[in-house]
Symmetry: D2
């Protein structure tokens, strides 16, 4: 069985998913929707699909599944409409910036018995999958400490920061999801410490650019997340999991693997600088997993609930920064 796709939104992340759909056997891109004609046209040219409106796609009998790549404030509505139209839905994170809106949306998904996968692409990175597989195979024993280093090469433009809901809801949310996944146990409380070190404009917008977060589970396992919006040496994405009998870790990806040695020592390339090149394989694997779920009817590997919980951790982190104390996740849900 093959799955016919439409992509809603032909911006940067829409193009990433178009390329991912094209690379997955059994997935076919049928239509693209975007009010910006040039953007939609570019995807039509590259992949030979139709340009349709969202309403047309809702009504298309030749579309099995949609990938929602539109602005965040349209996600929840689109999820609801497409679930009601009995299309399988893959939605880029976040479902919404409001926890209650997310909760209501998930009720609609449930009521319609809809298929919803939320795009936490990093879970599908081959290295991070190998880390998770090592944990699940018992190679490190009971997980005790997770360390996530997640640093962007540079800060996004100011208007993006405003729209995105801020660093915790936009950037750390990936790390919150990663921590939940690797801990294998729900997070109970959050402490966050945030600073403005990179750009004072970010502070003026009420956001932060540098943060450390500690997460705790009921059993006392902990995760630390260290974030910044500026890493001179590239997009720094590392995870490390300490267990009772060992540790497993995933290294960064450089632009290449050559090493130059001279009188000053040994030199290697900076890290891949962009999330798209760093996570190319992850995006393809993610769509592959979605196609598998749509085809088999099995649960999607990331769910609306995952989207809700990651956002709850972001809310708890914001509350922790404001109040300088450990915040229970139950306080924000």
């Amino acid at each position: 069985m093959s799955v016919n796709f439409a992509i809603l939104g032909a911006g940067r992340i829409g193009r990433v998913h178009a390329s991912a759909v094209a690379s997955v056997p059994g997935a076919h891109l049928v239509a693209i929707a975007d009010p910006m004609h040039a953007a939609a046209e570019a995807i039509k040219e590259a992949y030979g699909c139709d340009i349709r409106t969202i309403d047309e796609i809702l009504a298309s009998t030749d579309v099995d599944a949609v990938v929602i790549c539109t602005p965040t404030d349209t996600h929840a509505d689109l999820i609801e409409r497409f679930c009601e139209a009995r299309k399988a839905v893959f939605c880029e994170k976040p479902v919404d910036l409001s926890l209650s809106r997310v909760a209501n949306c998930l009720k609609v998904v449930e009521a319609t018995k809809g298929t919803l996968m939320v795009g936490f692409n990093r879970r599908f990175d081959p290295d991070f999958m190998a880390v998770k597989a090592a944990i699940d195979a018992g190679r490190v024993g009971k997980v005790e400490m997770v360390t996530i280093t997640s640093r962007d090469p540079g800060a996004p433009p100011s208007d993006y920061i405003t729209r995105s809901g801020g660093m915790f809801r936009d950037m750390t949310i990936h790390d919150f999801d990663m921590a939940r996944w690797l801990l294998g146990e729900e997070v109970e409380s959050v402490f966050a410490s945030a600073s403005v070190l990179v750009d004072p404009v970010i502070g003026e917008l009420g956001d932060f650019d540098s943060a450390n977060v500690i997460l705790r589970t009921a059993s006392g396992s902990q995760a630390i997340i260290t974030n910044t919006r500026r890493a001179a040496y590239g997009y720094d994405q590392r995870i490390e999991v300490l267990g009772a009998t060992g540790m497993v870790s995933a290294e960064n990806h450089g632009e290449n693997r050559i090493q130059l040695a001279d009188k000053d020592g040994f030199h290697s390339a900076p890290l891949l600088n962009f999330f798209m090149s760093r996570y190319t394989a992850a995006y393809a694997n993610e769509i592959n997993a979605f196609v598998a779920s749509v085809t088999t009817g099995d649960a999607t590997p990331t769910t609306g609930h995952d989207g809700l919980m990651a956002l709850a951790l972001a809310e708890a982190a914001l509350k922790s920064v404001a109040e300088g104390r450990l915040v229970k996740v139950s306080e924000v849900l």
Copy 2:
């Protein structure tokens, strides 16, 4: 401008090139030829191309270029016929196992002003390209010593060994080409030392499975190649170039980049085990470069002459093993 391709031969390497052609913007797979119907059908299914005979492809006006992936003993004839038919030709190495047959074939290519690129895929590996770029940028000064470690994970079946012309013409030929490319100067003499250590059957077939080769240029620069048909830890492909002011090297590619630490120490995955997974990017880059040459009319980055010279080094190596002495390349040309 786009380039329409036909692929001759739908075996393992034919599939590699079909996938590479599919991944290159501006390249379109129009036809596949193979007497084995099932093999041709599989490529037709996957890429939506026609199945045609070689004669039909020769006559096809909608085919600009062919990729020759047929058995070695057909390469030279096909190159000649397709050059005469004014198709651009990409041919898997080797052009032929006989130096004189190669030389005659290249004369036809020249007489027809044909475009011939010989598939030395490793030159297009992103890491090796970065090594070459570092050399060309003067980062290591004058090249003095090249070290190539090239080890297959396991020996091929006996019938392949017989057909392939033996280790030097089949396996080391890639390293001979790499050495020529990295030295930046023609090789003048060759010493080779070959053993049968992996499998006595290989020796009974008159071939070797383990060898070290020293190449020398007129200026006294040297390259060493160390080969074996068995590396327990995977497909070992490393290069290292020492120059007057520094060294540049390319590391291996493991199955993943995770590290597991336990009471016994630190553990990481074996190397990618198969040339196709190790050199996926190289195969795509190679076709990309061929398309660029066909489109612009510029010389191909690897030529029939490169194919001839790599084979000459293999012949000199065989003579060196037989006679236990340094052999001038001019002795075999």
Copy 3:
């Protein structure tokens, strides 16, 4: 000028310092004091020094400096007595487990114009010194984030835990000092999250075995410390400093640097398991620096104030764990 030493205490750390003194040109071990005759005798045998009582050493005109390696509850008294006797004093951390006792002791040191160096050996590790030198040379720009991973291979015996003042005052204290040193700015507030994951007995003693700590300075720079009493793969000691223009980090030290590759992948040795073997060079460098200060009259590189501040961070961390909130260092001083 050479410096004549007496060592007070011939236990494990006394032996470390005896060996360090022996390795430093210009330092001579004159006397050892220990009520355990056998321990003192072993050092006498190995280094050819006298056995004397502490009172005899106080009165010895041939002793310029002492190294205090006695139990913690004797440190402050001994520092005061030897400063009054005009001997230079090197004291193992901590000065005392009580902040007020430390403060009073430091007043005596000041009143007597005594020389006191507190043994934060890690500052003298060659790699960590190179990290600090890179920061001081401006190689990473303004320091923004310090990450200290500090994991013991295994928990100490119960009676040690009781005597030591607990994990923060005994183990993390080294990391607190390292963080202060690398941040280059005083810590203003502390959040700590501690768990009992390794051994419930440790919890019954009122201590923890696993913790993450976030430190903040007035400028918003942060440090995170991640500790555990159990790392299956050895003594894990890493630091990483992110600045505005780069990052500098120090790697672990394995038992050796060989790598074994086999069908299961690549394997290297576990980490050096013991603080003495990991920090052999640091102990020698530390005594060397002390000798230099004694000889030149310059300030010691680590001071009583450093001992006080590291202990204050430990107290703040304990208060943070108890109250689940960010604690200002000024609250405990």
Copy 4:
């Protein structure tokens, strides 16, 4: 039992051994001999030993063992005289530059039942010992290919080159010994390819500065040695052993283990630049092993025969360069 040492020769290597003797429990430095008074005095000052003439040391009843660090052309005579005087002898390589002189000297050692250890310090490097231990433990299966990369940071002065017997007898001799040790099987034939790339003066002196050597055993196992007198990035000393079931390798030692990351990538320190700092532990282990042999009467781990065989490989390599062919070791013995 302790062993009393005299050192003959207070030059650079004499100082290395004085320091090594001082670091070994059970070894005592009693006397130093050197016609250069200042050199002898420096060692007397540092280690508190006597200055004596060689004749006085021969007659000294308080000297059990000597370390010969005098010029090469005196080694064989001194070995004979001290064996006859019933002192245990540790001699820096080479025993002599003439194979026949070495052979005669060894006859005297045998006739006097003398103890002679020849200083192949690299066998005592902790990493190389771990490599050998892994081989002996069967971790890589039967040894098939040994790769030794051995590069000096810079060429020695001209007069040293003349005196030393040239690169093969002076520098490669260490690698010849290492190859014999790691192959675990005697070398049967040698091919060498030598160039002058670093400094034409070296060529004018009849020597080489860059070379590759292939060694073969009767079973077909091979070793390659790649040498140069100039590595911009420091003293490059690596070994790699491929066996039927795996590979074991030893990495280089940098000046430190820190890594700096900035916009240009990742940077680490050059290699330790000097054989003395690189092999400090090896020199101490070597004397330790000699002391153990002297004390127990067991055979020394490196012998006069090892010195003879390494020199024979150097002679065979020279003959191979001159004649451009594979040379049997039996041709030079």
